[in-house]
């Protein structure tokens, strides 16, 4: 089976006033039909890696890789037309804050319908039916009412469900989720993740879950990649996170406060400059 994603030696850099800044420095991994988590702090390059897979970087970014393929198809050489066919239809992207990701001047239903009709030639009525079915699938109680609401009229949790509906309606093979629940309350987060979990499993999709929350990723995903300063420093199965070997991962795990433990001081992560080059 061809892996969904193959990345080899991905490098992304940006020109700045002080020379070139290497944001991603030689990232390699493969993804099958599984849930992969990419964890890192701000500046680790995790979001850029996610967007690079859809070739959605700003024109200023300089991307290079030995291999970047989706389902066997080379993304580096793909024409803009090929990429448009892939984006949305075969790879989808869910972002952090629906406030900023949903178009404020279109109703929710229009946007979801548009997402569908971009990739399938169907009548408006059919698109509407599909939209309502999708809203039902993300457990929205009254799809007909919500269909005509504007994004500012829905809560954060519902907005995120709507985003998921919009991104999954074309039935992609891969979903990239960039901090999809970071802006949500903890209980709403659980609900949204459960919906995501169900849909991804039902449809046999691949999922890349990008987050800064190590524990969340460990509990939700099958495999984890830990990124630091543009490189992958750890790769392991989610169930084996406690046995992580890289000092950065261990340091992060040790510095998190835990409800069950009572410690006088939290272990502070000391950054070893060697991690930048190791």
């Amino acid at each position: 089976m061809t892996p969904l994603i193959e990345v080899e030696d991905l490098r992304i850099s940006f020109p700045t006033a002080k020379g070139s800044f290497d944001a991603v420095r030689g990232v390699s991994f493969t993804l099958g039909r599984e849930k992969l988590g990419i964890v890192g702090e701000s500046g680790s390059g995790k979001s850029l890696t996610g967007r690079a897979l859809m070739r959605l970087l700003t024109p200023a970014a300089q991307l290079s890789a030995k291999r970047l393929a989706f389902d066997g198809q080379d993304l580096l050489q793909a024409t803009p037309r090929d990429l448009r066919r892939i984006r949305g239809r075969r790879i989808s992207l869910v972002l952090q804050d629906p406030k900023y990701a949903l178009n404020p001047v279109m109703t929710v239903g229009e946007q979801i319908g548009e997402a569908f009709r971009t990739h399938h030639r169907v009548s408006r009525a059919e698109a509407r039916a599909k939209t309502l079915a999708m809203l039902e699938a993300v457990r929205i109680r009254n799809p007909v009412r919500v269909h005509d609401l504007y994004p500012h009229e829905v809560s954060g949790g519902m907005g995120q469900r709507i985003m998921i509906a919009m991104m999954l309606i074309p039935e992609p093979d891969l979903l990239i989720a960039d901090e999809p629940t970071s802006a949500l309350d903890v209980t709403v987060q659980m609900q949204v993740l459960a919906i995501l979990d169900d849909l991804v499993t039902q449809r046999g999709m691949g999922l890349i879950f990008i987050s800064h929350d190590l524990n969340l990723v460990a509990s939700f995903c099958d495999r984890i990649l830990v990124m630091y300063a543009g490189r992958i420093v750890e790769e392991c199965r989610a169930s084996e996170l406690h046995a992580a070997t890289h000092p950065y991962t261990r340091g992060l795990l040790a510095s998190l406060p835990r409800i069950e433990e009572s410690r006088a001081e939290l272990a502070v992560l000391t950054r070893d400059p060697a991690w930048l080059t190791a």
Partner: protein, 257 residues
């Protein structure tokens, strides 16, 4: 130290009125660290803002060290200060660190500002190299340290902390939490810490109250939380959700929205 009785805060008017806080009562003793936990919209930040004097329309009674919040006078800034969530928004972009730290002293006519400012920087772990930097030349953790130093310039007895580490990277969070604990131990401060993160509250506080939609659902000692023995269903749900994703637990939580 902090005494709140039957606090009610309503925003908006008439049919648009929303009660952010409804009949809340709290008591925090001197030197205690008290946590206020809740999700967004629970009203926890509103309580802090009332105590800080930023919200002036409320009913009920609130006092700090016996002084009524409704009748704030010049003593208040030297009694209570606040640290905000967003380190990128709580420092004035055009003021150097030195300016930010000396201003409260200038407002209250306190002498030897130079001495106090350098001491304050030292105590939060920033050296003199940072003194004349602008906020955009500081990292998130450094800005939050400056915010903490600034809050302590007037030597208050009470520190109101509004999600002090939520906007920081995970690796920086531990440093800031350790700093806050150390400062509290050294100065005998009283903390009122607001957070949505149960683990942070469990680490920092002695007692806590769980809020939901403007009311206190449950109040307990941190030990109760640690032993997973909260009484109320809402608190239990919060506790479960904090543990990370679990298929069965999450399935049970799915509701139609």
């Amino acid at each position: 130290m902090i005494d709140i009785r039957d606090l009610t805060v309503t925003f908006g008017r008439g049919t648009q009125a929303v009660a952010a806080v409804r009949g809340l009562s709290l008591h925090v003793g001197e030197g205690e660290s008290f946590g206020l936990v809740g999700e967004s919209g629970s009203g926890k930040s509103t309580v802090l803002r009332v105590l800080a004097g930023l919200n002036e329309k409320w009913q009920g009674s609130a006092s700090l060290a016996g002084l009524s919040v409704a009748r704030r006078d010049r003593r208040f800034p030297r009694l209570v200060q606040m640290v905000f969530q967003d380190p990128y928004g709580s420092l004035h972009p055009r003021h150097t660190v030195d300016h930010a730290l000396s201003e409260p002293l200038a407002i209250h006519g306190i002498e030897d500002a130079n001495e106090r400012v350098s001491r304050a920087l030292e105590q939060v772990g920033l050296g003199p190299a940072f003194r004349f930097r602008y906020p955009h030349q500081l990292s998130g953790g450094q800005r939050q340290r400056v915010a903490i130093a600034r809050a302590l310039m007037l030597e208050p007895k009470v520190l109101l902390l509004d999600e002090p580490t939520s906007a920081l990277d995970v690796s920086v969070q531990a440093e800031i939490l350790n700093l806050l604990r150390r400062l509290r131990d050294e100065r005998g401060l009283t903390y009122l810490l607001v957070s949505h993160n149960l683990a942070v509250v469990a680490h920092m506080c002695d007692r806590l109250a769980v809020m939901n939609r403007g009311v206190v659902v449950e109040e307990m000692a941190v030990d109760t939380l640690r032993r997973q023995e909260p009484a109320e269903a809402y608190t239990r749900q919060l506790l479960l959700a904090s543990r990370g994703y679990d298929r069965e637990v999450a399935r049970a939580m799915i509701t139609y929205d």
